[in-house]
Amino acid sequence: MEFFFDIFQNTIDQFTNPKKRVFVLYLFLSILIAALWLIFYKKKSLLQSIKFIFNPKVFFSKSATSDYKVFFINQIIMLLISPHLLTQITIATALYFFFFEINFIDMGLFASTPKYIIISLFTFTHFIVDDFSKYIVHRWMHRWPFLWALHKVHHSATNLTPMTVFRTHPLEGLVFTLRSAFAQGVTISTFVYLFGGGVDLYTILGANLFVFLFNVFGSNLRHSHIGIRYWKWLEYILISPAQHHLHHSIAKEHYNKNYGAALAIWDWLFGSLHHSEDTDNLTLGLGTKDDQKKHSLKELYLIPFYESFKFLKRFFLKLFFIRKIKKNKSEIYYKKSPQ
């Protein structure tokens, strides 16, 4: 009984907690931004805009309904496994202890820094480190076949809705949780070690100031059918919703582009940036012949396990095989050597 209550509470929390992406206020602001975009940029009437935003073909599509299912199922799975996962505190403590052993960096080296600077620096660093680690892990998700097998679940969405953010394989959820724990653990331990007890976070409604701003300015439109584009110069810094839509496009020229979450800087730096285009005629999904068949729970939960394992096995076999070749080569070398 308590378990069901926890599921219920966690589900409600996603919509009522300002630290979460689909907090109702953020959803509402995304709708508002979408309406303004449609009215002033796309020159639609208010009624047309509303009809476009709440298009039932999008929200009741096969793709969207499978998003909702995955959302609920993952709530249950995460509730079961989260107590067993590595936490940011474990990582932070281990790193903090490690810093003590580095004798040339003294604890509290910068403890005399004015408090507002420490807090600003921590708030900013936490956001940057978190965003950068998201970029890196996302890139891996696309580059490593055994991770791509999992990440495909997210990309199998043929319609994007704010709930697509939850369209994630549970194993991928594990990877993301580790990423988050690691990013937080590094920032927290480094700051507390160097700046002492004055470290704090600037928050609005309990969320990191920058995370709050990211969400207020329409983060939910990244997964939507509203292709808002920014000015070109801004798309070097921040990823526009349209840029993320391209990331979901099946067109070859859009492959492996725009991995960034909030910041586009990482894509720019590492050569994966693609500026936005008009997204009205974009096809989303994996680009296979049977994309519409990828919305079943079997495809979303079971197949990825099998595929990921297959690639992982292949990877290790390759590793082992190459070693064997190297070993044989060295044996040959020894045979040839004068000794």
Binding site: K19, R21, Q88, I89, F100, E101, L201, A262
Partner: protein
């Protein structure tokens, strides 16, 4: 209007009923929640005893410990030893003594119980936390000799008053209670409930064994009627009203005072995160009621297993109280180590004095943790290695051993300073943090006074969970 009236009436009558019930419950709780008196259940007893609760011997030992602690800074070995090993004379109670607004009934040890000592009840195993394979009585004797010479030895950083007090609480009270009275003496064939504890006694074997363990715990008989704060204030001699249960205007050490680990439990509980004092004292009371309910018959297997469940509660929580103390003083020692790095010459002596005190408390409690019923094995090894035999001194040297024969008044051997050596002041700080983590991981301490890693956990909870199954 009519409806409202009815509602008001209903509310009024409900309030009256609930007040009445609360009153009744309070009246009931008043006697139900006090440890004793308990009636005679022993079959065939014909004396005039009416209350079988008796633990004055334990209270005498608490007082001997408190008095020894007081005397440990006065430089007189024989006087200290008279309280540790006992004396034929009716000795004065040095502590706890009366103070303004807090008069204590007893002034002489024999007013409580005569012929008692601490040495005979001290844990006899080897103490690996101290050099030279000494037994606990030997360690205590060694410290008393050192204390008589110099109670606060700045040259090695030892505060003998703290070492003696914190270790004796473990090696006598904790050890006797959990490893003797609540262990062997709760066995089916040991001290049976259908026989007197000793010839002529009005209490049974089990009744008295249980009472003795309660006595060592140190709570007042009426502790359960009071808040943690009240209990704490009794031990601090600040609240006569809370202490004086029978209302005779004086505090009876035999039943109205809070001693030793019960006091430490109250100090943690008043923070609101834990309820050690209540949980342990309640388990003692419920266990005693269970024994009484056997009505002088041998305890059945079912009764004994029920009793052992109370023992488990007591053991686990008592160990936690000591672990909380280790946690707390590891934090204070850490703070002192940080302060010592930046303190000016004018305040150096004062800060170093604090450092010695905190380290002494840490060492004493950590040694106490090792003399319970459970062999804490690897945890003990870690604690002993990280704490050492003496605190890290300002020249980055520390005690590594003792010269001379076992138990003799030997001189300390200290490490020599080496440039670039691995063990430094920074490592000493790190050890304190690791000790705090060890207490969390091994014993699940919750009060966590002086938590030096709290900054990180506070930040982490502010940021929010790292759990995420979301694709940004």
């Amino acid at each position: 209007m009519k409806k409202l009236n009815l509602k008001t009436k209903l509310l009024t009558s409900l309030t009256c009923i609930s007040f009445g019930l609360t009153g009744l419950a309070n009246a009931g709780a008043h006697s139900e929640d006090v440890y004793g008196p308990f009636p005679v259940t022993l079959k065939g007893y014909s004396g005039d005893c009416t209350n079988t609760v008796s633990y004055s011997g334990q209270i005498a030992r608490h007082v001997q410990h408190d008095s020894l602690k007081y005397l440990s800074t006065k430089g007189d070995y024989d006087e200290m030893n008279a309280y540790y090993s006992g004396s034929d004379k009716n000795k004065q109670i040095w502590a706890p003594g009366s103070k303004d607004g807090f008069p204590i009934k007893q002034t002489l040890l024999n007013d409580i119980s005569s012929g008692k000592n601490l040495s005979g009840k001290t844990y006899k195993g080897t103490i690996t936390a101290w050099p030279e394979n000494m037994t606990a009585p030997e360690v205590i004797d060694f410290w008393m000799m050192k204390a008589a010479d110099n109670p606060k030895d700045v040259s090695v950083g030892l505060n003998y008053q703290q070492l003696l007090s914190k270790f004796i609480m473990g090696a006598v009270f904790y050890n006797q209670a959990v490893d003797n009275y609540l262990d062997e003496k709760m066995g089916a064939d040991s001290k049976p409930n259908d026989k007197p504890y000793k010839d002529g006694a009005c209490y049974t074997g089990k009744e008295h064994s249980w009472d003795e363990a309660f006595g060592y715990w140190g709570a007042a008989a009426h502790s359960l009627l009071l808040s943690a704060e009240d209990n704490y204030n009794i031990a601090k001699k600040k609240d006569l009203a809370a202490a004086d249960y029978n209302g005779d205007g004086v505090v009876d050490l035999k039943s109205e005072y809070v001693f030793a680990h019960a006091y430490y439990a109250s100090s943690f509980d008043k923070g609101g995160k834990t309820s050690y004092l209540e949980d342990i004292t309640r388990a003692f009371l419920d266990g005693r009621k269970l024994i009484t309910s056997a009505n002088g018959e041998k305890l059945s297997d079912a009764q004994r297993s029920e009793l052992m469940a109370y023992v488990d509660v007591i053991n686990e929580n008592w160990q936690k109280v000591i672990a909380e103390s280790v946690f707390k003083y590891a934090g204070s020692t850490y703070k002192s180590l940080v302060a010592l790095e930046s303190v000016g010459n004018a305040d150096l002596a004062k800060e170093f004095d604090k450092y010695m005190k905190y380290w002494g408390e840490l060492k004493g409690f950590s040694m106490a943790l090792q003399v319970g019923k459970e062999n804490i094995g690897e945890t003990a090894t870690k604690l002993n290695r990280m704490i050492g035999f003496g605190p890290m001194l300002l020249d980055e040297t520390q005690i590594t051993g003792i010269k001379g024969m076992m138990g003799s008044d030997g001189k300390y051997i200290t490490s020599e300073y080496e440039m670039g050596k691995i063990y430094s002041m920074n490592d000493a700080k790190l050890h304190m943090l690791k000790i705090q983590k060890l207490m969390i991981d091994q014993f699940g301490v919750e009060a966590r006074a002086n938590d030096m890693l709290a900054d990180m956990s506070d930040l982490a909870s502010k940021i929010g969970t790292s759990e995420s199954a979301e694709n940004d």
